[in-house]
Amino acid sequence: MTSAIRFDRVHRYFADHAVLRGLDFTVEPGSIFALLGRNGAGKTTALRILLGFLEPHHGYCEILGTDSRKLSPRERGKIAYVGEDHRLYASMRVREAIEFEAGTRVGFRRDFVTKAIDRCAIPLGQRIFQLSRGQRAQLALVLSVGTEPELLIFDDPALGLDAVMRRELLDALIDLLAEVGCTVLFSSHHLHDVERIADRVGILHGGQLIVDATLDDLKSRVQRRAWIGTGTPPPVAGTLCCRRRRDGYDLTLLDVDATTENALTSGGAQLAPPSTPTLEELFLDLTADDRSGIFSASPSDQAHEASA
């Protein structure tokens, strides 16, 4: 069965800066893929290339089996897309927006959408620019899934929403998935939600995926262990991250086995029992720089302190 989405070594530059440096991953039909990354890591760029709004410089991007640059209108009808800003025609009333969607998309289920909007407590006569951010996000979402899409692509759908709205959005998505069973690709900063709902996670960093794994795999293969000993911990294969703590180091390790443990405990060092990092902790380990904090003293000050 062909994959729903396939990125094949996609490169994309802006001026001379490489935003995507060979992005390569696949999303299987019926699964939920969460694309994570820091701000500016290239998530939106990747999604725009996927939808054909941008062309890659090298590589190839396939969506529902077609080259993303050559998407026909009919194929677009199978994809639901909501951008970061939930952009709609601000001057339209809600019911006009429904009519617009109904008119321009095939198989739009007007009753379903109207009922869903009612449940969101959004008045039909209100103009879209008068809606709150959360209401607009919900509206955009509901409208986008008004047909029965095969593929949902959402760029940070919960951006700017409070916890209640986010949960409602999540619930709405779950309802939809339970009903229709489509493929979902979304990017998000709310890793707790991602942990609940994603099948597979990709972390975009430095223009490439540094993680492309199922959540279950991440839970089972990644460990966090405190290392206490003199000097620095020996470099072992599978060390994802090593952070200095007050006494000792915190190691994030992949696929730990007996040899790794032995290597780490050599020379009298101690290794604490393993704990599983949450997705957020893993994300931080992999993508944050090891800085002491933006308000703390600079390294030169610290050195000065140390020598004094």
Binding site: F53, Y89, A102, G103, V106, R200, G207, V211, A213
Partner: protein, 635 residues
């Protein structure tokens, strides 16, 4: 709701808004000139009505094209199971709706005003709406230009502005093309604008659906369409600029030397402009033995211009009134013009000057309302209530009130025939109205046997007027070859024999400098146009830079073949420069060939346009990077 309806109704708000604003602007512009102008005296290109309609159309087109981009909804619209062409077609339909509304509003407003405040003018008849199309043709083509320019898939505002600027050039050129005998020539005007509209609409379809991306080359079709248009615009504007400069140089050159002039009395004099030492001003002195330039090179003559023959609009055979170019006659109580096709006179009578006309009629001569000949001329008669026309030596008159409503012949004393008429300026003396304030000019009719003036009635002209009449000169000063740098003049006598002929050379340093600069600017003109202009001889194309900016008088009529070849050489040089520049920017071969072709045809304009369009950033070869596998990967 079907897709078309949905696409149209999403833009309801701006459609309505623009309709209202544009209609308002048009109504204001019309009311400034008088609504009757809609029917009878269509606008010229300097008119505010023309400008209003053109701007309105352009704004409409631009707005329709950038609307979704500005509100950020283009992706929302794009991501839909509808083809881009369809979405664009809906935009065009919306524009058409607005244009149609603008077409309807002024006539309806006129009819309403007439209905409420006056008689329904005969000119209000639907057939005369055809004239109204001259303005609307302008709006439609401007809209098409705006739509094309605003949809070019580029992030460069400059490119889009240049493309929109084509519209100005098109308007100017079409006006130039259509200047000549008839004021309206509605038929050709409509055809030209229909062609412009078609070309630009087609171009706009080539634009939609292409991505605007700074980092990738433009789609081939868009480059061909937009690139060509921009190149032509750059070239056209540069030619206009060059023509202006050359005109300046020519003017300066002429100021720097003596002249041969023909006075109203008919005598020919040699005059020199001399600097007066005390004041450093310049003064004209007649050259005599004390102050004559010696040598074989004689001073220059003043330039005598010639009018380009122009088109024959009768060729197009479309049935609209065409009025003679020689100014609409306007007196205190009427405006009148002769329709060149029907030979009938259109008159609008008003109670007083500047008031709205209350009577319109179309009249001919005699009871049968026969047509006037092509030589008929309306006489301007200040303070005289009636309308007088001279035609083939006979005089006709139409009374302002009362029967009969056609021109009646006026008998001249002794069966005289009129030879010509002149406008005589009287200065402070006004024989006809010693007590009143009136125009200090009047019309004198010169017959074989006497001179007459017209007022309330036909009278013999008083001596004061007769003495002001200009005699036909016995010698005529002609410009045999009006070359801008080295013209040739001749003096011809009444029998047509040439008494004197001379070709002028550049003599003094100032003249030479200006002449050389004029030549230099010609090198920057489009080689293709120069080549074409230079191949036609004896056509009288060279009339001067300002009247014919695109045809270079320096090479026209087969003058200066060397200059034509130099221009072509400059074109080839530019093509080479384009090639080098584009190679440095990593532009692909197809695009390179396209721009080299334009550089050969247009010279520097092609090079400039290529530089503008093909940025390094879009074409640069980006490296393929090493891909490290993810740190954590599931199967």
């Amino acid at each position: 709701m079907n897709p078309t309806h949905a696409l149209l109704s999403k833009d309801n708000l701006w459609t309505l808004a623009l309709t209202a604003i544009g209609a308002g602007a048009l109504l204001i512009a019309y009311s400034m000139r008088g609504f009757d102008s809609m029917w009878m005296f269509p606008p010229r290109h300097t008119d505010e009505l023309f400008a209003t309609s053109w701007i309105a159309g352009l704004v409409l087109g631009i707005f329709a094209g950038v609307r979704d981009e500005v509100t950020g909804t283009s992706e929302y619209l794009f991501h839909r199971p509808l083809s881009q062409a369809r979405i664009h077609a809906a935009r065009i339909v919306n524009c058409a709706i607005v244009l149609f509304a603008w077409f309807l509003v002024p006539p309806i407003a006129h009819w309403v005003i007439e209905f409420l405040f006056g008689d329904l003018a005969s000119f209000g008849m639907p057939s005369f709406v055809l004239d109204h199309w001259t303005i609307n043709a302008v709006m439609v083509s401007a809209c098409a230009v705006g739509l094309f320019a605003s949809t070019i898939p580029t992030r460069s505002i400059l490119v889009r502005v240049l493309a929109a600027g084509t519209g100005i050039l098109v308007m100017l050129s079409s006006s130039l093309l259509l200047s000549g005998d008839a004021v309206t020539a509605t038929g050709p005007w409509l055809l030209v604008h229909a062609a412009i509209t078609t070309v630009f609409l087609a171009g706009s379809f080539a634009n939609v659906g292409k991505l605007a991306d700074d980092d990738r080359p433009m789609a081939r079709l868009s480059r061909v369409a937009a690139g060509s248009i921009v190149a032509l615009t750059v070239s056209g504007s540069s030619v206009l600029g060059i023509a202006l400069l050359q005109e300046e140089h020519e003017f300066e050159r002429r100021q720097a030397h003596p002249r041969i002039v023909q006075t109203p009395a008919g005598t020919i004099h040699l005059c020199d402009q001399v600097r007066v030492p005390e004041t450093f001003e310049r003064e004209w002195l007649e050259v005599n033995e004390d102050h004559v330039r010696t040598g074989t090179k004689l001073p220059h003559a003043s330039r005598v211009g010639r009018v380009w023959p122009g088109h024959k609009y009768g060729d197009f055979g479309l049935n609209t009134p065409r009025f003679r170019l020689d100014r609409r006659r306007r007196a205190d109580n009427y405006q009148a013009a002769v329709d060149t096709d029907t030979g009938l006179v259109h008159v609008a009578w008003s109670a007083a000057r500047w008031s709205i006309p209350d009577r319109f009629e179309v009249v001919g001569r005699s009871q049968e309302n026969e047509r006037f000949s092509d030589d008929a001329r309306i006489l301007h008669t200040p303070d005289a209530p009636d309308l007088w026309i001279v035609d083939s030596g006979a005089l006709w008159r139409l009374r302002s009130h009362g029967a009969p409503r056609f021109f009646q012949p006026v008998a001249l004393p002794d069966g005289d025939r009129l030879r010509e008429h002149q406008t005589v300026h009287l200065g402070d003396r006004d024989i006809l109205h010693p007590l009143g304030f009136s125009d200090s000019s009047t019309v004198a009719l010169i017959g074989d046997k006497g001179v007459y003036v017209i007022g309330d009635e036909l009278r013999a002209a008083p001596k004061a007027i007769r003495s002001e009449l200009v005699q036909p000169p016995s010698l005529l000063l002609e410009a045999v070859d009006p070359d801008p740098i080295t013209p040739t003049i001749a003096v011809v006598d009444a029998d047509g024999e040439e008494r004197f002929r001379h070709t002028f050379e550049l003599q003094r340093f100032e003249e030479t400098a200006h002449g050389v600069l004029t030549l230099f600017w010609s090198l920057l003109r489009p080689p293709a146009v120069q080549a074409v202009t230079g191949s036609f001889g004896d056509r009288g194309l060279a009339t001067g830079f300002s009247s014919q900016p695109f045809l270079d008088p320096l090479v026209a009529d087969r003058r200066r073949a060397w200059l034509t070849f130099c221009c072509i050489a400059v074109g080839l040089l530019c093509a080479f420069g384009t090639h080098r520049m584009l190679c440095r920017r990593d532009v692909d071969a197809n695009a390179r060939r396209f721009w080299i072709a334009w550089s050969i045809v247009l010279g520097p304009a092609g090079l400039l346009s290529a530089a503008l369009f093909e940025r390094r950033r879009a074409h640069a070869d980006r490296p393929v990077l090493e891909i490290a596998p993810p740190l954590i990967r599931s199967a």
